[in-house]
Amino acid sequence: MTADADFDLLSITLADGARRLRAGEVSSRQLTEAFLDRIASTDDEVHAFVTVTVDAALAQADEADELLVRGDAVAPLTGLPVAVKDVLMTKGVRTTAGSRMLDSLVPPYDATAVSRLRESGAISVGKTNMDEFAMGSSTEHSAWFPTANPWDLERVPGGSSGGSAAAVAAQQCIASLGSDTGGSIRQPASFCGVVGLKPTYGRVSRYGLIAFASSLDQIGPFTRTVEDAALLLQAIAGPDPLDSTCYDEPVLDFSKHLDRGLDGLRVAAPREFFSEGMDDDVADAVEAALDLLEANGAIIDRSPSMPSIPMALPVYYILAPSECSANLARFDGVKYGYGARGGESMWSDMEATRKHGFGREVKRRILLGAYALSAGYYDAYYLQAQKVRTLIRREFDRVFAEHDVIVAPTAPTVAFKRGAITDPYQMYLNDIFTIPANIAGLPAISIPGGFGADGMPVGLQFVGQRLDEASLLGVANAYERLANWPTTPPESVGST
């Protein structure tokens, strides 16, 4: 095998890479070295990675090459380099969740999604940066450093999975894993011009995912193509005895459902997803996408109304902080991670641990959650939010009784400049169109949908019915082929 490949190693997809590896056109070692070199030459600018696992990746690559040369049947993603958000536990590899609290945590076990990735043959090149404990929409709230958007290094990549999105857009890996509680996969996918899929709540095991809001969290893939999203979802989906919130439902062969086409597809464009807060450039791009879908056989219905959708954001900012205040109570400086010592008592050590270990955004949400759950406010906030959650779910059910998928913008704006948003609630508005799918537990995907102001990518979102990722991937794949938007910046970082 020689390195003078007549194709660009860095723009390879999982599907194409798997084929070329089997055909012996390239080795896993070559591929892995190419991506590690790319990380070395670009990450001073992008800052997508918290940890790069060079030695482990190369060792895995050599193992993969042995299997491939032997010619036996190999697992589907054998030898393909991917990255993992730093919120997923990786055995023996530092896992920080973007927080000083976990500065020194080296997990003794793998998250299920990570062990499945390994069983599928994929090679992890490292752990990607994120907003602390997955709370944020810009990856500016990482305790380590902000990640830059590869399309414009002065802009944010979105968040909280900003490192995973930027790494794929910057061609530092073929694909990556992220987590999505209110949009943390889809919004950065939108900002970085790549594909991001949040599966149905319960489709992918959360064992080993450092919990933020347990009734909303879900793990999913970032890729450059919809076909790759299907492959990566295939690798990580399915029941797990270690996560009782996982559906015990068969996982379809998603790749077989990519070609269902648009003819007669009933697409709802509910008014509330198009009404307020959207920038003109985003609206124009999404309208053009709707026209393209319609011209190719989809039936676009703009009449459905979902009056409770504007309440999704307030519901989220009760439920998510409430759940996070409970989940993050475990960080007490006793069992793992950072622990302050030298105070007068156990309590003062604990209070100092949480003072120094948590960043500002995390503290704010813990306080907000404690307030919403406290005596006298529980019924007015938490219980009321859970009831409105039911109303939102019902409205989705009504729309899906007559439509196959819902289409919407992913985010109301293109990526903004670093430091441009300082007001917490303004930042929360980034997730106004992504949160409803988390509230209802539905699968949703963001795919490149054109370009807006200053040539920045715009994301197009599809939301599907519970456990029907196949329909989502089908419509997304059809649109992707028609539109064929580039998924890497024209003047790539590190090219000079």
Binding site: L105, Y109, Y201, R341, G343, R354, K363, L367, L383, R393
Partner: protein, 106 residues
């Protein structure tokens, strides 16, 4: 953005922030108390729209899936090795996590 969070901000007191911080065991500086008071009040002023929604007779949804009573086989499996778990402890003594005395011994 609402332009009138100030009315609510005055209703959310520094004392409340200090109380919440003590409940969640986070030490705050006086500056932080004031900043969080103002930010929480602003966020709550947006969230308060929820109270206007009629939810009479609507049951709460408390998880993202529609699963109930998931049962697992009562089978034993090996625990994680003690040494691997203790390896991440901020402070240990023999096979224990070391902390300040919890109970007053006087």
């Amino acid at each position: 953005m609402s332009d009138s969070p100030d009315a609510d901000a005055t209703q959310f007191t520094s004392e409340q922030v200090r109380h919440l911080a003590s409940l969640v065991r986070i030490e705050l500086t006086e500056t932080e108390v004031e900043e969080f008071r103002s930010e929480l009040a602003s966020i709550l002023s947006h969230i308060d729209a929820l109270s206007e929604i009629d939810t009479k007779g609507v049951p709460p949804t408390n998880n993202g899936a529609d699963l109930l009573n998931v049962e697992a086989e009562d089978a034993s499996r090996p625990s994680m090795p003690r040494e691997e778990i203790l390896a991440n402890a901020p402070q240990r003594e023999a096979d224990y996590f070391r902390v300040h005395a919890v109970l007053d011994q006087s």
